[in-house]
């Protein structure tokens, strides 16, 4: 122990540095475990799905039933059992236990398990042949009883919409399934619950029951499971009947996201169901699931999507890349430490110390480093998580998988450190036999390179295969990408090397020609040649690669938002069916300050034939024309920022001329010309002002070449419609408001619009979460990559600083030269110029990105990015990135300068090696 303490004291600085490096690398390795949660391809798909559905946001309608039917977010377990149903009382606890074990999630929002039978029931005043008798867990029954009317000493509770329901003794008749036998029983029902109250106080349960054809039953009677079982038990036993079981589980949105949309959901859902069934079977051996819950099963289908495959691959590659690089850097770090201590280690071995003791030392050192690294991870993980919350507004979930993954990372770290130590010991023993200069130390030095590469590749394949749940196709894609990226990285590295070496060669030749002594800057450059190549590689490749991705993701998210608004026209749409509503709604909208402006569009369609029942008088017979009535002034002001010049194929748009109308290209193909007159039923005549090429945003999506479409002044269309007594139209209000104020505006509009009664059709609001989702899905991986890059950078920087200056000949030589008084200023200038070049190159990459994104890509119709769509936050992101990069460069060079500044020349003189 004394010896070990001495050794620790001797190596403490090194061990601390190694712990720091390993800590950073461990943190990056653990961080990438969270990527599937944050950059989840299923969530991405979910957002894209919502996006492609058009109006994906809040929507409500005057028809209650419609919105009621819209919800489909329960898991329904349809099952049966033979012996008993009392175990259903434990169903809730079992579901929770299984979801904790499989997903790490606590307490679903609601779990209801019940058994039901259809019976015929009657009492003195009422009779029905469709009574649904439901057995409920006791706790749920008691809470229902609490809000019910009547006597609580009751066998059951009847749900009714009349308070005059007859209470008391009820007789029931139950026809035994598959036979003609009936079984009669009696219940004393002294309590009832009004349906409205039931719906209000137990909305989720009510929704559950509605799934079981609640409307078809004339009466709904709820009773405790115990009583229910007691009644039916003898019959079931006698006729070998089965108990029908239904269980409803409602998970929260957050839980659903994790369960259905997580990267490994197919596997987890499978294990969840398996566990649930086995747990239930443990209580009731005859429990059988008839149908698996459909939502849960969806994750299986989703996972087969090729897009998901690609995104999975991207995530896996990031993970594998980070882990491989971590392993490589850790092995190199330990090797570097060992190399600098070779003589001391040799002396220890020569002293004849037993191998057991030596292994114990190495074991304890590895343990200390691993513990130190873990401590650093614990200290840094919290800020890392906070950073995600700040940037992306997302949260981490420490699922079982994360804990297992983190433990594996830690075990791999420990094993790697210990095995590198032991590998060095083998080297030392080889050296003792073959001589000190017989070989240079390299990890696994005795193994042939081809063999090392082969083993590495097999491990990579195996690793990828296991990560992909043994999916050959995904493994193949990922390996292909890894090899491709590997080749590109090597080419890039060698290109950089070639460039730097080429510059030096040219310089040397030039010097030789001119026969002048080398400049100070050139001498410094020559000394820093290798370090500079590495630095250029790291900065230019890794960081600018990440920054480009950040650039595109940010602006693409903006672009989606803007193009969405461009296509859809506004953030809130109100659809109504009555013309008088225009007068009622207008002042209401004008009075609310959050609504910046709005416009109404009157939409109708008509046959184009000349008779008294059509609106338009043309020579075209029996063709449908779509008519849009719009105030020209409103319309042109509504999107004054948008460039309108592409809208017309021919003609001119004016906002003031009320005698003009604009028609689709279809009219042109039917030989209509600009200036032609179109006559309406009221005798009014309008001149064609232009042919529309790109369809105006407020007038839905139609094909201008194939449809007959007319845009005309709203007042004119309204007059004609009134004259005709026509009601085949709708009025849409497009409201322009700040996205942040959407929710407040809906709350303001909702009661008023509902007050319009039947004529109000629906209100749809743009759900900004869709864009937030896209932004998050795009940005989070980039931010994580950037952060991981930073940690790597930290680890790599420390790695470079690992050896004492006196032990590193290259750094020593540079340090000796750089710190001579007449070289200090040129050295500082060199570092400054380096910073400026790297920063300028980042700026250049931004500039190139900018031109490609906003000029080239839109020109070749790859991406329609509009400058107008760029949000302030995106600009802020870019500026932060740029500043971060500049700070990083300054800190790195500052530290490098400080390192040389601290050189003690006398030390180097005294210990020249």
């Amino acid at each position: 122990m004394k010896m070990f303490i001495h050794r620790l004291l001797e190596r403490k600085r090194m061990l601390v540095k190694i712990s720091l490096i390993c800590g950073f690398l461990l943190l990056t390795s653990i961080s990438v475990l969270f990527i599937p949660q944050l950059a989840n391809p299923h969530i991405l798909r979910k957002h894209f799905y919502s996006f492609s559905q058009g109006w994906s946001g809040k929507s409500f309608s005057s028809n209650f039933e419609d919105s009621f039917a819209a919800g489909n977010d329960f898991e329904i377990f349809d099952a049966w059992s033979e012996e008993s149903i009392i175990f259903l009382n434990n169903f809730s606890a079992i579901v929770e236990k299984c979801s904790i074990e499989s997903f790490g999630l606590y307490q679903p929002q609601r779990v209801v398990a019940l058994s039901e039978e259809v019976v015929t029931g009657w009492n003195f005043t009422e009779s029905t042949n469709q009574t649904l008798l439901i057995g409920l867990p006791n706790d749920l029954f008691l809470s229902l009883l609490n809000v019910s009317e009547g006597n609580v000493e009751t066998d059951a509770l009847i749900i009714t919409n009349q308070s005059t329901i007859s209470l008391g003794e009820w007789l029931f008749s139950y026809q035994i399934y598959g036979t003609n036998n009936t079984f009669n029983f009696q219940l004393n029902i002294t309590s009832y619950l009004l349906e409205d109250l039931f719906r209000r106080d137990f909305p989720t349960f009510y929704d559950f029951l509605s799934k079981r054809n609640l409307q078809e039953a004339n009466h709904l009677i709820l009773m405790p499971l115990g009583k229910f079982a007691e009644i039916f038990q003898p019959v079931k036993k006698q006729f070998s009947g089965r108990w029908s079981i239904y269980a409803f589980v409602k998970f929260t949105v957050f839980q659903r996201d994790i369960m259905y949309w997580s990267i490994d959901s197919p596997g987890k859902v499978h294990s969840f169901l398996k566990l649930l069934i086995s747990e239930l079977k443990a209580i009731e051996r005859t429990f059988t699931l008839v149908q698996e819950p459909s939502s849960l099963m969806e994750s299986f289908f989703v996972s087969e999507n090729p897009l998901i495959y690609l995104i999975y691959s991207f995530i896996r590659i990031i993970q594998i890349f980070v882990w491989l690089l971590s392993i490589f850097l850790i092995a190199l770090t330990i090797a570097k430490l060992q190399k600098s201590n070779i003589y001391k280690e040799l002396r220890t071995i020569l002293s004849g110390i037993s191998w057991r003791k030596r292994i114990l030392w190495l074991f304890m050192e590895s343990l200390l480093i691993s513990l130190g690294a873990s401590l650093i991870v614990i200290l840094l993980l919290f800020p890392f998580i906070r950073l995600q919350v700040v940037f992306g507004g997302t949260r981490f979930v420490f699922t079982n998988n994360i804990f297992i993954g983190a433990s594996i990372c830690l075990v791999v770290l420990f094993t790697l450190i210990l095995s590198t130590f032991i590998d060095f010991d083998f080297y030392l023993r080889r050296v003792l036999v073959k001589g000190l200069y017989s070989e240079e130390y390299r990890p696994l030095g005795k193994m042939r390179r081809s063999l090392k590469g082969g083993i590495g590749f097999i491990l990579l394949v195996l690793f990828t295969w296991l990560l992909n749940y043994r999916d050959y196709f995904a493994t193949l894609i990922e390996l292909g990408i890894i090899i491709g990226v590997g080749i590109i990285s090597f080419l890039f590295y060698y290109f950089m090397r070639f460039l730097v070496n080429g510059i030096i060669q040219l310089k040397v030749k030039n010097k030789l020609k001119t026969n002048k002594p080398a400049s100070k800057a050139f001498i410094l450059f020559k000394f820093r040649q290798k370090a500079l190549t590495q630095k250029m590689f790291i900065y230019l490749f890794a960081l600018t690669f990440i920054s480009s991705m950040l650039f595109y993701s940010t602006f693409t998210a903006d672009s989606y938002t803007s193009s969405y608004i461009y296509i859809q026209g506004a953030e809130i749409t109100i659809t109504t069916k009555e013309l008088p509503n225009i007068d009622s709604i207008n002042p209401f909208l004008e009075n609310y300050s959050a609504i910046e402006d709005f416009t109404s569009v009157l939409k109708s369609y008509h046959m184009t034939a000349y008779d008294n029942h059509t609106l338009i008088k043309t020579d075209l017979e029996n063709q449908t024309a779509y008519l849009f009535g719009i105030s020209p002034e409103d319309y042109f002001n509504f999107y004054s920022n948008w460039n309108k010049k592409h809208w017309l194929a021919e003609g001119e748009l004016t906002s003031t001329n009320t005698s003009m109308l604009y028609v689709s290209n279809r009219f042109k193909s039917l030989e209509f010309l600009i200036g032609d007159i179109i006559e309406f039923i009221d005798g009014s005549k309008y001149q064609i002002g232009g042919f529309i090429e790109d369809w105006p945003v407020l007038c839905d999506k139609y094909d201008s070449r194939n449809e007959l479409i007319i845009i005309m002044p709203a007042s004119a269309l309204q007059t004609s419609l009134i004259l005709l007594g026509e009601n085949n139209f709708s009025v849409n209000y497009y409201l322009h408001i700040q996205p942040k104020k959407i929710n407040a505006t809906i709350s303001y509009l909702e009661p008023h619009l509902k007050g319009l009664g039947e004529s109000f059709v629906k209100l749809t609001a743009l759900d900004t979460l869709v864009f937030t989702g896209i932004r998050i899905v795009f940005l989070i991986p980039i931010i994580i990559l950037f952060e991981i890059g930073l940690f790597f950078f930290g680890a790599f920087f420390l790695f470079q600083q690992l050896e004492e200056l006196v032990n590193d000949p290259a750094a020593k030589t540079l340090g000796l030269v750089a710190m001579q008084s007449d070289y200090r200023l040129p050295f500082r200038k060199t570092l400054l110029i380096e910073d400026a070049i790297l920063l300028a190159s980042l700026g250049m990459i931004f500039l190139i990105n900018f031109f490609v994104a906003f000029l080239i890509l839109p020109a070749i119709s790859c991406l329609s990015l509009g400058l107008v769509g760029i949000s302030t936050s995106s600009l802020l992101y870019s500026i932060i990135l740029f500043l971060l990069f500049a700070t990083l460069l300054a800190v790195q060079n500052g530290l490098e300068y400080w390192r040389y500044y601290q050189i003690d020349l006398s030390e180097i003189y005294r210990y020249p090696e």
Binding site: H6, L346, V433, G435, L436, R910, P912, E913
Partner: protein
Amino acid sequence: MTDNKNNSNIENKLQAIEITKIFPHPVKKETNIAIFAGASFEMSAGNLNFIIGPSGSGKTTLLRMLMGIEPLSAGEVFLNGQAIHTLKGKEKIDYFKSVGYMDQFPARYLSLSLSARRNLTYSLRLYRKTGREEEKKQVEEIATTLNLESLLNQKTLSLSGGELRRLALACSMIHNPSLLLLDEPTAQLDAENKETILTLLKKLNETIRSLIIISTHDMTIIEPATTFKIEGRRVIKWK
């Protein structure tokens, strides 16, 4: 030092017979470079034995060969009649324990961040298990012998070149070796420090019975009668 007195009746003697050392060429792998070819010599305790030769002649390699960490290409080496070139396993480890070695760069073997006392204690503990009191006594005894008493609690990094050499010397012999190999013990030292080291070595030679072999290219410190010169891949007696 106490053990040394008990071993005083053993005469440490080293014999090298026809030793050859061949290294592969660092660039042209197919060709070899011979450092020694059939070199024979004999050294015994009682005198300071010097090995001289120009830089790169193989002085350090010879010391390593005698130490047993550089294998011979051919030939034999005996210490007190025991063949050391054939040693393996535990026997080899036992032999290592009986050798003390001081490198020409002391910083390689010493922990510069620790005190001189800790370095000495560690060196002793590496080879021998003793009680705390005994350990302290031995450290102080060797420190007195090599004039290091006042430096014991100083950080090794703060020692001067001469002091560092003395400390390295103390560390290499604290376990009382039969064979003490000193590689350039006076390199980079001024005349005064050189004199101090030489005086100490002579004093040591009188008090301990170890066979001391010193490699040097400093002709001012040698004793011609016991000096061997590396010349023409052989080791020959200088005078």
